[in-house]
């Protein structure tokens, strides 16, 4: 393991040990926060429950739908905006302000549009994630080095060749970043929606546990969520390292 890696693990383990000790020794009330080992127990319990597994799976399904939609639509819109620089310049101030609005306030609107099913949640995840994909797609395309673009021009490629063989590979690291954001933000959107107004899913389960003062279940589920998202991100990070290690 690398030297920073060793320090990192040491840091994390030390922090967890500290928290464990603090909880066991009573520095924190059990109503506020429970020891990491108790969280792990709660997570294990949740995994053992068929009902909980059902909640988790239903959340994952909605998240997956949101990710796919956000990536496809986001790439397309990002590429389109790249080809329309005037529109892009005008939109620029609005792009950054997009994330200031809690978009899940529109959840009721989505319910009316899509009905009382999972689609409003997918819609929230999509709305939250798509902008990050657009921004990163735009960023990546505009950072293609000038030399690369000029060389491609001189090679007299067709527009399709120019897009698929030059622009996309050149922008690939940023597109990957956009995809990573799509994963995280889809989770955030779907689970936030489930928190607020839903009868199913991981977010609902956590909110239910919170309202029932069931800290063990709540922290256990939160730990599970953290592990799921963390695990997915780590896998994405590993793929990213492998794919782009040679690019420098």
């Amino acid at each position: 393991m690398t030297r920073p890696g060793k320090y990192r693990w040491a840091l994390i383990i030390a922090a967890l040990a500290l928290l464990e000790a603090a909880c066991r020794l009573g520095f924190f009330s059990r109503q506020t926060i429970i020891a990491p080992t108790a969280m792990a127990a709660g997570a294990w319990q949740a995994l053992g429950s068929a009902e909980m597994r059902g909640h988790i799976l239903i959340t994952l399904a909605s998240v997956a739908q949101s990710i796919i939609l956000a990536v496809v639509v986001g790439f397309a819109i990002g590429a389109a905006l790249y080809c329309l620089p005037r529109l892009r310049r005008t939109l620029d101030p609005f792009l950054a302000s997009y994330y200031a609005v809690p978009t899940f306030v529109f959840y009721p609107v989505f319910i009316v549009l899509f009905g009382l099913n999972r689609w409003p949640l997918v819609a929230i995840g999509f709305v939250f994630a798509v902008m990050a994909v657009i921004i990163n797609t735009l960023d990546g395309l505009s950072r293609v080095p000038r030399g690369v673009r000029r060389a491609a021009k001189v090679m007299k490629l067709t527009p399709v060749q120019h897009l698929f063989f030059v622009m996309l590979p050149a922008a690939a690291p940023w597109l990957f970043t956009g995809a990573k954001f799509a994963v995280v933000y889809s989770f955030v959107g779907v689970i936030a929606g489930e928190f607020v107004l839903s009868g199913a899913g991981l977010g609902h389960a956590i909110a239910f546990a919170y309202n029932s003062f069931d800290n063990t279940a709540m922290y256990g589920l939160m730990l599970l969520l953290f592990l799921i998202v963390g695990g997915i991100n780590m896998q994405l990070w590993t793929w990213e390292q492998r794919l782009y290690a040679r690019r420098g």
């Binding site: 080095p145 000038r146 030399g147 690369v148 000029r150 060389a151 021009k153 001189v154 090679m155 007299k156 490629l157 060749q161 063989f165 030059v166 590979p169 050149a170 690939a172 040679r246 690019r247 420098g248």
Partner: protein, 267 residues
């Protein structure tokens, strides 16, 4: 002039960058007249900012002249890159996501050439240019000079009839430059292409070229066209020829004043 031996013809070519916002309009180049003969090795030297790179862009069809005409092989050049022209840019244009071999093969693959034919062209080119051992490496693992050589190889495998080079050896040290100059002369002789080279090195221009165009400070116009009358079978050892010093001296005489002017203008 439309004799078949004249491959590139520039008449009163001018480039003015229009005013944008606070910046005034910029008269960058011209009017420039030039006839390039087929198979000739032509260099341009001039002070910074005189418009050399702009001229290259215009010839390549990457930009339009504000006034004047450019004709390549009898057809006008206007806003589109003509067939048969290859360009090596000053900046790094290697594709970071492809290895050396794939970079060199890129244009040929896009043109639909068979893999076997591609290999027959790319392998010899890579060994001439000295990158054969690095065929599987990625540009990020190469030095700046090696990346530039890769760009040259990538352009040359398409067998352009007119090769435009914008300070291609800028990243290299003097000795490597001289050796690369020899290689360029070899390739020039082998392919029979016309070469149009931009350089700030007087030695390089004198050593490599049949003719040298000396440019004034901005807006750049040709203040002299010098014939070197070198034999075609030349290499870097020509630096010891007494005529070498005379040509270089003549160029510097004209260029010195122009360079001082450019320096004074804060370029």
């Amino acid at each position: 002039m439309n004799t078949p031996s004249v491959q590139l013809c520039l008449r009163e070519v001018t480039r003015v960058f229009p005013a944008v916002d606070q910046q005034k309009s910029l008269h960058a180049l011209g009017p420039v007249d030039l006839d390039l003969r087929r198979g000739e090795f032509f260099s341009i030297v001039g002070p910074s900012g005189c418009g050399k790179s702009t001229l290259l862009d215009l010839i390549a069809g990457l930009a339009r002249p504000t006034a004047g005409t450019i004709t390549f092989e009898g057809r006008p050049v206007a806003g589109e890159v003509p067939d048969g022209i290859g360009v090596v840019f000053q900046e790094d244009a290697s594709f970071p996501w492809l290895n050396v071999y794939d970079n060199a093969a890129f244009a040929l693959r896009r043109a639909g050439m068979a893999e076997k034919d591609i290999r027959e062209r790319v392998d010899p080119m890579l060994s001439i240019i000295g990158l054969q051992a690095f065929a599987g490496a990625y540009p990020a693992q190469l030095s700046g000079g090696m990346r530039q050589r890769l760009c040259i190889a990538r352009t040359l495998v398409t067998r352009p009839r007119l090769l435009l080079l914008d300070e291609p050896f800028g990243a290299l040290d003097q000795q490597t430059r001289l050796l690369m100059g020899d290689e360029l002369l070899n390739l020039w002789r082998q392919t029979g292409a016309t070469v149009f080279l931009i350089t700030h090195s007087l030695d390089e221009a004198t050593l490599l070229s049949d003719r040298i165009g000396v440019m004034s400070a901005r807006p750049g116009i040709f203040i002299d066209l010098v014939d070197t009358a070198w034999p075609r079978e030349r290499d870097s050892r020509i630096v010891s020829d007494p005529a070498f010093g005379r040509v270089t001296g003549r160029i510097w005489e004209m260029l010195r004043g122009q360079s001082l002017r450019a320096l004074a203008e804060g370029r």
